[in-house]
């Protein structure tokens, strides 16, 4: 078969609009999801058993079910249960934020655990009060150590965001599929869509290894 990529020039604007929706959704859910994830990560290491059980159940459930199912559940069930109409975008944000919260909470938990007990000994020996320990010693180290994995989490979220096309949100994937159906040129259109995702995600994954090496170099004592 003959490939003709020139047909895509007509749809540049539509694709860009789709990409814009994808990026907007991703960035909003990164911010909300990281905040949720940090809180849940702390809750999972808490001494309160109820808090620990609830947060574990949330994380295990979201890691143990397909994101597509989560998305459908939120789209069809949340409005029914709340008795309010939710826009597609809102539902998408809720679903992907919950997903991001679950995966980043594991990242934060691991980075909190990686701070050795001798750091706490030093805090006691220097007489640092609890709030100074948390704000000046634990938090900065936990965040620094979490950065590389958080970045990978962001890439995962960016990729998973393509699922919102399945519930009719006009993201990059949705627009691409529409163009592909209308033009009967799936090879050209879908390949370009894949390439756009790749061009954004790939540099980020490279950045992960660079930043990882840097942070490890800086934090190794």
């Amino acid at each position: 078969m003959e490939l003709d990529f020139s047909i895509l020039s007509k749809f540049q604007y539509a694709l860009l609009l789709g990409l814009w929706t994808t990026l907007k959704l991703t960035v909003i859910c990164i911010v909300l999801g990281c905040a949720l994830g940090f809180a849940v990560g702390l809750a999972r290491t808490s001494r309160n058993i109820v808090l620990r059980a609830l947060s574990s159940a949330y994380v295990e459930f979201f890691r143990g079910t397909p994101v597509l199912v989560q998305l459908f559940w939120i789209f069809f069930c949340l409005p029914l249960m709340l008795g309010v109409e939710l826009s597609n975008f809102t539902s998408g944000v809720v679903a992907l934020t919950l997903y991001m919260g679950a995966i980043t909470s594991e990242t934060f938990r691991a980075s909190l655990k990686s701070i050795g007990p001798e750091q706490f000994d030093a805090c006691v020996a220097l007489g640092l009060p609890r709030n100074v320990q948390v704000v000046n010693v634990v938090l900065p180290q936990a965040v620094l150590r979490a950065i590389p994995t958080l970045l990978s989490n962001c890439v995962s979220l960016f990729k998973e965001s393509a699922l919102v096309s399945a519930v009719g949100m006009a993201d990059l994937m949705f627009v691409g599929q529409n163009i592909s159906n209308n033009t009967a040129r799936p090879v050209e259109v879908l390949s370009v869509v894949a390439l756009i995702y790749f061009v954004i995600a790939f540099p980020l994954t490279r950045a992960v290894s660079v930043i990882e090496a840097r942070i490890l170099g800086k934090l190794a004592i």
Partner: protein, 260 residues
Amino acid sequence: MIMSFSLPLVKMQSLHKSYADGAIQVLKGIDIEMKPGERVVVIGPSGGGKSTLLRVMMGLEKIDSGSVTFDGKPYISSGSSESKTVIDMSVRRSIGMVFQHYTLFPHLNVLQNLILAPCKVRGEAKSKAQDRAQTLLERFGLGAKAKAYPAQLSGGQKQRVAIARALMLDPKLMLFDEVTSALDPELVGEVEQVILQLAAQNMPMMIVTHDMWFARNIASRVIFCAGGVVVEDGPPEQVLGSPKEERTKEFIDRVFHINQ
């Protein structure tokens, strides 16, 4: 008659400490009195309770029973209920400690490591703390390293920074827990030099070490600790040179044999 009388700086009374609900007893009744200006080196076999003793002194470990007074004030006591140890935090602030594994904060540079506690605990002005820190670093030959991160320092440099960091709080007693054990042999000297410098200024200190040469050089008094009790206690030339107790003699012979 005129009595020369000086109050003890530290008075430990019948300290008991166990792990795993009493299954492993590490301290089985320790009584030590330390006078101001004394430099006590604690030696003994691994698991004999030396490090635990220092960690108790720093308030890092709970005790089962006993008490410690510091400078005439009650410091640590086993509380009314069994699992409670009462530690006077204001007293604890006048004790500094340096550990085997540096324990610098890796995300802060040398200067930030030094000024964190003075600024946050004592509310000292940042510029004043920085000046003091810089002076201290110069004295320890680290003047050029103020902006370096711990990962960029050698083990010996890290340990000297850790000592400087503890001194920033003007401690009345310094605890050194095997501070040269993790170092490469060629770096041990520079750290011991710094501690000898402090000794020359009459800083009271308690030191746990395996380095008998260093022990003999720095100690004004040596305590041999084994099996959770003080086996022998006296001036360095006696305990290290001609020990009275058979267990001390065996240990010294073995260690010197290995050292040479």
